[in-house]
Symmetry: D2
Subunit: 364 residues, 4 copies
């Protein structure tokens, strides 16, 4: 109930806090017979790991994942797969002086009020972006499952940082270029400008937001349920579990609202014997159900709320105005670390629906 | 599992098809002791009723709701509240000739494939916008519950139709003006242009989309859970159950992605002894938890997919190209009918969280 | 949350009160393509209908079920199947004078306290045995689904009334004889004694309990999950939703507790090429998973709490001792009406697990 | 979905296998502000620990629990509490030769079939009684929560081993004597006979079952929901997650089935100003709701299926008859280790309902 689990057939449970002993995830409902070892998860975790370069937080985490259960002789067994990462590089003292000064844009204040100051506030505690590593643990399994059984692939990438946008539309050939730069933008030149922009923001003690796009290919027709468990419902629920996400759109999304029906409708045609649509303004989802076209999602990330600049705020103890200057190590822009997290949650949601509809069997 | 229910403590179950015998809803988990009768629900249903004017479908439905259970001597009892509306004005024959021609932008094709042609296709069946009446049945109860217990009020309105937008930002004084025109836009002059625009689209056999905004006031601090049951997660899941919705954003949303942190952060201050933020770019939600500011949401509706113009498509029987011309009665723009539906789902989600956190008691 | 739904993939939602306008059920998650009409449900409802003979309550209910949604052209569509029975023969006045005198053994007192006197007390309201008709609505569908797809059959019967027990152990050939008498006991002679016993209790203004046995055949190996969703867990949860049930055992159950392991273990052997056990003390379930043998359950029903004899009790208004004499029409023994209810809940639970494990497809 | 979680508001998730790296549990939804440290859990774990004496398995496990998250400065935070026990004393080789010979009464065969031989079979894997340690982790927290907030106490004890039964009925004064002997029977003399009986069974290479009784005191009126989430439904679902449990009854249970209504009804009276019943044949639950009397449960455990005697069985590889002689270390009787497990599941279920009804607040 307290929201640490998601999914119906495939259930991901997340635990841990940013500066606690460990963080971890449990995946229940994964079919027996999937080849799996720690490398499958570690590889994907490494892509979101902090401390890799100048544009992210300087916190260094080994982030070495251990599979504790659910895998036997190199394959999943049908039992819950539990995974754990011990926290290492914690500098909790950095946060002690913040305890009473409310950080603008941060979860501090509602969390304090909700839990009557009992929550673990160190490093953001349960609200930290660090917890998205638990999403990736689950997502790495879901991605491998989808790839192995249905050939489905997810590709998330940075399409915008601040006001700098990709110049072309994504096409699937760009997928290989996503991880060729630190920004995770498949256009190398644009990525350079984005990087400059981020470094500039960091220098000013400021932060930037941006947009992640997600394209999922080889999706079969028929995933999702009418009314409450539409694919858009479940994907958006999952995506909004990422801190900093403030918007989501499928296909033509907000831009589609300005079009006429005759402009926004995707016309059916036949290609290589298959019914497809000529355009994909629906983002691959009609009536909440996948229509076989790629699922396309755009996700808005706000600029990180922790900035080095001085900000006016309130001291919750004195209930008086005060000045806050956040220390500690923070990402000037979290967007470049987000693609593996988005991929994880998209894959997890689609895998859950593929299991629900019987497209993936409980034993492979 | 098949997605006909939503909510954790307060659970809404929807049933029925557009051209079946009836549609209905069950609300389980509503506290005992809420004053309730059919008028409370009927009043809100009437606001989304079709056939009221030129800008909506000409299908006329009495849409008279009957409370079948859960209310005794004018109060809720704690038992599930079931409600039913008998369908009346069905013209199913209009749809017979569409059975094999895939309507662009419509759920036909994925539904046929998902259910192997066994689904009730008449009038869109389970996928029809008509089913949003079941959302309103649940929402009317949730709204009354929120108003009565916590003073929370939801206000959804049309802020954009096609390319025509409201000229000012919404402020709470405008709430009274929302239902003064057919378009549900609190700016009367803008509403007139929007209406012209819709009538024009209808004349062309075309359709329009638009944007609904939702402002919820008097929200206490502390609703929502970290990680998977964030308020944004649960609100978006609910909102995407509305057909035609393709995008959602909270607070500054997509626009916020282009700002610096120093521009997007809301600074804390004290007003009338209460901690508030000077601006509300967060949309009232931080870290997935309500922070006491109004919850602000923008929702993108695509233009209705059923248009009178001829469209190229595929006949699924012959697998050949063909021309489709949709008949039947359709909304040239569904947006003006959406505000009560959005209000319903926002209220339902917030009421569910208020019950989960103990802010509303199981017996009033 | 308030407990009106059960099941994971196949979900049954019950609504209504004994003396309200109607009772009904919604089955969500039933595969598309099952042949179904009202007769399938009515036939099974008629088997539990009251007022059929001397040994049950004299309340007469037409109990005519209407399928409101989810069935199209004689087949299920994959959409939720909603069913409703209008209540007819209500004599609520019989209950008015009971409002404050606590009926021993009845739900009155805890219900009053739980709902602060707001619950619908007429005829037991939400707690009435009448609500088991909603279990049967769901069960009739599940039974047909199991029979059609996997050949699974459930057979529940009365094996004991008061102290009168069947003389032999049930074997599957007896299944045809269950409904040949009013008591639903496959031994005709025993049934006569049971009937005498019930009539005798009625004459004394007293009531009797008894035991229902349930044998389910053709169960495939592999239904149920380890740990919390064991088949025994889910079956017992469903069965305890029947008012008056106070005990359940699988296979050798309580008697097995007194045996040595060497006596209670079922030895494996091969019959007609299939691995089976020579005996079935496990009741067809090992480690929470079906092992392919018939599932055997024994269920203890307490004697009905509403009796005509005078009983000492408390008046909740005065908080003083008083004498109660229950009027109204009551079953002197509910056991003979229980077999269709037990069959329903057993079938529903097994169908849910068969869907979860992929043994039944979402589209037939 | 795969059944590794239980509960609605308070959710227990179990992970791990008998001979894997570790076992563990996550409790989500525990209120913030409960004083908690590892000792609270360890103390209760120690009461079910194997290898303590002659009457249990000789497997020795340190079973040292580590709280990994959810506790900060000695109090729960509202975040999920995760706990882990590293497995130490594994002798997996003992099991290698059993891989193909089906052990009578054991989960081997259905597990192999369900998971197509992919499951971790070592030491029973996911089906091992060892996993009840994860129930105790959750239960220790629930018990402390119930004690602290509502004064509720659970007392489970051994009332029967094989054919040896306690001579008197349990009364609450006996609670202190439960853990004074290895058998966990509050009658010391009876405990001695039980112990003899178990040692004798062990010598013969055989095993014994028995009965655990559970008495919960200080239960408030009003826990449980009508229809599907009755207290009996949820308690039985939880209890049947214990391997070897084959029967459960509340109050007079099976014996009550043989009584007249006038004999079985509990008459209301007033004691010390409180409405109570003179007897407690209902076991403290009426209509699925607690009535304020102690909740009394009797639970049937079958004799352990692993015995040292030779048994006829089938080799699943050859599909031929063969002789099996189980080696490894096993409990000749699991009943004496079960009271803490029963206490855990009873407490967990009651705590969940107390949270659902608002009797315990989300923040203490």
């Amino acid at each position: 109930m307290s929201g640490s689990s998601i999914g119906q057939h495939l259930v991901l449970t997340s635990f841990g806090e940013s500066h606690g002993k460990a963080i971890g995830a449990i995946v229940d409902g994964c079919p027996a017979g999937l080849e799996l070892d720690e490398k499958d998860i570690q590889t994907m975790l490494d892509l979101r790991k902090p401390g890799q370069n100048l544009i992210s937080t300087q916190r260094k985490e080994g982030d070495v994942v251990e599979i504790v259960s659910g895998v036997f002789r190199g394959h999943t067994t049908g039992a819950p797969i539990s995974m754990i990462i011990r926290n290492a590089d914690q500098k909790s003292k950095d946060y002690e002086n913040l305890k009473t000064k409310l950080r603008p844009g941060h979860s501090d204040y509602p969390a304090m009020m909700k839990y009557n100051h009992l929550n673990d506030y160190r490093g953001g505690g349960r609200f930290s972006g660090r917890l998205t590593a638990t999403h990736v643990m689950g997502g790495a399994i879901a991605r491998k499952l989808l790839k192995t059984t249905l050939g489905i692939e997810t590709n998330a990438f940075t399409s915008q940082i601040g006001k700098i946008k990709m110049s072309k539309e994504f096409n699937i050939k760009m997928a290989k270029s996503i991880y060729k730069n630190e920004v995770r933008c498949p256009e190398n030149e644009t990525a350079k400008s984005m990087r400059e922009n981020i470094l500039d923001a960091r220098k000013k003690g400021d932060s930037l937001g941006g947009i992640i796009e997600s394209i999922t290919t080889n999706v079969p027709v028929g995933l999702g349920e009418p009314i409450f468990n539409s694919l858009e419902s479940d994907l958006s629920k999952a995506i909004f579990s990422i801190p900093s996400v403030k918007g989501i759109e499928f296909g033509s999304g907000f831009r589609g609202s300005e079009l006429y029906g005759s402009e926004n409708n995707d016309l059916y045609t036949i290609k290589r014997g298959k019914i497809v649509t000529e355009t994909n303004r629906s983002g691959g989802i009609l009536g909440g159900i996948s229509n076989g076209m790629p699922i396309t999602i755009r996700i808005a990330f706000k600029p990180a709320s922790s900035i080095a600049q001085k900000q006016n705020t309130i001291d919750i103890k004195t209930k008086k105005e005060t000045i806050l200057q956040v220390k500690g190590r923070h990402d000037p822009c979290v967007v470049p670390r987000a693609p593996p997290v988005v991929d994880s949650l998209v894959a997890f949601t689609i895998a859950d629906h593929a299991l629900l509809t019987g497209m993936i069997k409980p034993v492979l």
